[in-house]
């Protein structure tokens, strides 16, 4: 279960679209812990990218 697959799975969860095939693959993983950690990491990335975007918009206008 390489890290890249976990990132792909969490990203598709954020978008809310996932194919049956990928889901079966993702569920081969034996524990949900990496998914949760990567999920939290991606939420932080989501927050900081939004903060950056907001500062950029304020600077722009």
């Amino acid at each position: 279960m390489n890290i890249w697959k976990v990132f792909k799975a969490v990203f598709s969860a954020f978008i809310g679209v996932q194919s049956e095939k990928n889901r079966l693959e993702d569920f081969q993983a034996n524990s949900p812990i990496p998914f949760i950690l990567v999920g939290i990491l991606m939420v932080l990335i989501f927050i900081f990218s939004l903060v950056y975007l907001v500062n950029f918009m304020v600077y722009l206008m």
Partner: protein
């Protein structure tokens, strides 16, 4: 039989609704308002509204079409497809694009709303439990704005007027065309100062100051209400703003300051019992009747009675009576009116409370005796 009675019942309800709706005033939509900000908010509102209507029509038409055609009773055979990521991607990406398109004008409007720089008039708006105080910074002018709807209208004894619950005794007067900056704060709990026509809504937080601004384009009277639950009379502390031309505004300012000066000067002269009683009843009606009731019987236990009460009849309680009216009682709805009413009003209302409803103590509280205990502002 069951179907026929059911349909006639529906007809009767529809007829009743129709008659009620015929002469009703069906305001359906948000006001466009009289400021640039309120108009841009109105356009944002209509844009997102029409986007939602279009998506709703698309989704529901597919759904109802499928409800009609894919029914078992018409012999529809159920297919077994249960996945199509491309379709799902499309109906996820498209809403995101629509929202991004909406976010741009929303951002410009929001940034415009937060730009309170170089204002011409600064007004401090302070929320009290159940009234507003307006202070014109730099003009040394401040007054209170109370609900002025007749209690008989509220208790359905008298016909309700057009501006029922949206009328005050002292409206806020502002010039048109000028940038007006509101500094909103509160004296007790959280209120929210809202005038729909300006699209200005700012929460009043005790201990903190929030700012907002507006520039009004048209002369007129604009009404609003408190928009944050603040206790018993949350629905009874309206906001009335009169937008006038520059000349009228300057005129009003001088005339208003003169009337306040006259009020202070009036404290110097000698007031007779009758004069104090007349003025006292007006002040009582506006500030005290809401809790202590018009007849002075109050509502136990929260609002104690004044009629035939020890504090309002016994001579040795006279100073305690004055102290409680001036300093209020912390943690209860009884406010410190010393900071809110003039010396004449305070003297008059205390005299009224000590002589009305059969209390007849004959005491006269003079404005001079109150003046020394008051704030200098």
């Amino acid at each position: 039989m069951k179907e026929r009675s059911c349909s006639s019942a529906v007809l009767i309800i529809l007829a009743a609704l129709w008659s009620v709706s015929a002469q009703a005033d069906w305001a359906l939509n948000m006001t466009e308002g009289v400021t640039e900000v309120s108009r841009s908010i109105y356009s944002l509102h209509m844009q997102i509204f029409w986007i939602c209507v279009v998506i709703a029509i698309a989704v529901f038409s597919v759904m109802f079409w499928s409800i009609i055609h894919h029914r078992k009773s018409v012999g529809a055979k159920a297919e077994q497809f249960h996945e199509n990521t491309t379709v799902e991607l499309i109906w996820t990406i498209v809403p995101v694009l629509i929202l991004v398109a909406m976010a741009v004008p929303a951002t410009t409007t929001l940034i415009e709303m937060y730009d309170t720089s170089d204002s011409d008039v600064d007004i401090q708006v302070t929320g009290y439990q159940w009234k507003w105080q307006y202070q014109y910074l730099g003009e040394d002018l401040s007054f209170f704005s109370n609900l002025s709807t007749n209690p008989d209208e509220i208790n359905n004894k008298v016909e309700k007027n057009k501006n029922y619950l949206l009328e005050v005794d002292e409206p806020l007067v502002v010039p048109i065309g000028k940038k007006i900056r509101f500094l909103v704060t509160s004296n007790d709990v959280i209120h929210s100062w809202w005038v729909p026509a300006f699209a200005v809504k700012r929460d009043a937080i005790p201990g903190f100051i929030n700012e907002s601004w507006t520039r009004i384009d048209e002369v007129g009277t604009y009404r609003g209400q408190c928009a944050e639950l603040c206790g018993k009379d949350h629905g009874f502390m309206p906001i009335v703003v009169q937008a006038v031309t520059d000349e009228d505004y300057a005129l009003w300012l001088t005339e208003k300051k003169a009337s306040i000066a006259a009020e202070v000067a009036a404290a110097a002269r000698v007031w007779s019992l009758e004069e104090l009683m007349v003025r006292g009843e007006q002040v009582y009606q506006k500030n005290c009747a809401a809790c202590h009731q018009v007849g002075g019987q109050g509502i136990s236990p929260m609002f104690p009675a004044l009629k035939a009460s020890a504090i309002a009849t016994q001579a040795e309680q006279r100073d305690a009576h004055i102290k409680i009216v001036l300093e209020g009682r912390a943690g209860t709805a009884m406010q410190a009116y010393g900071a809110q009413l003039s010396a004449v009003e305070l003297a008059a209302v205390i005299t009224y409370e000590r002589n009305a409803w059969g209390n007849d103590t004959g005491d006269i509280i003079t404005p001079q005796s109150i003046q020394s205990m008051l704030k200098s502002k």
